[in-house]
Symmetry: C2
DNA sequence: TTCATAATATACCACTTAGTATGTTATGTG
DNA sequence: CACATAACATACTAAGTGGTATATTATGAA
């Protein structure tokens, strides 16, 4: 009986490599910022080398663009938007998701803030490609939030005079603000008072 | 009559040089981030050279620390706190300063967001020295805001059951959130709806 | 099995970076 | 007017940077 060779059988898959690269990029950029991370550091977290990376991404910027489009935007959607569809009252859903994704999160998952907001604040003024894609992500977020709030309004959970677009914007602002404050103070416990205040705001809408 | 030599008389002043260096550092860091800016670029915006800089600041980090302590923190105080003391009703003052400093600001002064928030989001998780100083600045902001809100409460502009510390935190969160959203969308007009929502929140406190 | 080529590896390069070593000049003090 | 020294200037370095040129290997079609 020949023992199976322990050397990992080297397989090749464009998509798998792409996912590996984007995953490593996400983790590195999330903690150090886009400018603060180097291609070499990203590759160290991977079983791949420069050849693989530059085969798919012409430049570091293109890697960043893909990060926004293929990782961060979907992440926003399935953390903050998709779950809302299960609620008869989306306002309840918004509050519940905040509690779940921030209030109940582990401290180490809050230390670095919001991946989208981090990139917005760092890269928006510096690069047009980033700016466009980050704006698209923000717009999508606000739009979807507005859609849910319209449902809430139709169901009578929000007064008819209220401009739900404005509320959507304020709510997204609060999401990023929550992340930012908790990160700045290094104190997840600050979620409670912030949450209370936001509920107080919501109550003024019903 | 001898023509005066056109060569600038080279004078030396530690404090003047420090201010020059910090001013240039502020502008560069404000637009490119701390990691994105190089010592050489900072010096180009200055009449000084590396000798002058490293004579006062042992490392780039120390320059950043001084930026937070000597430029950004005072800036927060005299933009957002000191003016409030002139108002019998600090809540009015808070809203008026928001209008003045953000609502009426020129677009180019909003493009880069909030200097403090930018640094918080970029550097807080990366460096302890930054973290401590940025937290001190945030704490000062919230503390002073709380002080003003206590006055408002005592004067009867805020209901007695309201926890003003929580309100202070929420308000500072909103300041940074406003800046962040306007920066992300590149749209100063978003101040209006955000402002309206914040007023609606305040009205739930009186 | 052959073979074209897509997917990846490796070695390398020009350039930038923070920081240093060392030299020069202004300035206040006796 | 010396003169010690604080306040700078200049030239340099070692390490890291994004990107490239070129070689290698896996893969799927014929």
């Amino acid at each position: 009986m020949k023992p199976k060779p322990v050397i990992a059988k080297k397989t090749r898959s464009l998509e798998k490599s792409r996912k590996q690269l984007l995953e490593a990029t996400f983790l590195e950029v999330f903690s150090k910022g886009f400018q603060g991370v180097s291609i070499d550091e990203i590759l160290k977290k991977t079983a791949l080398t420069k050849g693989a990376l530059y085969h798919q991404f012409p430049t570091k910027l293109d890697l960043g663009y893909a990060l926004v489009e293929e990782v961060i935007t979907p992440m926003i959607l399935d953390r903050w938007i998709t779950p809302l569809e299960d609620y008869e009252n989306p306002v309840e859903g918004i509050l519940y998701q905040l509690q779940r994704n921030i209030g109940d999160a582990r401290p180490e998952d809050l230390r670095l803030g919001c991946p989208l907001n981090n990139l917005v604040q760092e890269m928006s003024p510096l690069d047009k490609g980033f700016r466009q894609r980050l704006q698209a992500a923000l717009n999508l977020w606000v739009d979807q939030m507005e859609t849910q709030l319209k449902r809430a309004k139709k169901a009578g959970h929000i007064r008819s005079e209220v401009n739900v677009r404005d509320v959507a914007l304020f709510v997204v602002m609060a999401h990023e603000g929550f992340y930012g404050i908790i990160k700045g103070f290094e104190d997840p416990a600050l979620f409670r008072p912030l949450f209370k205040s936001l509920r107080s705001y919501f109550s003024s809408l019903s």
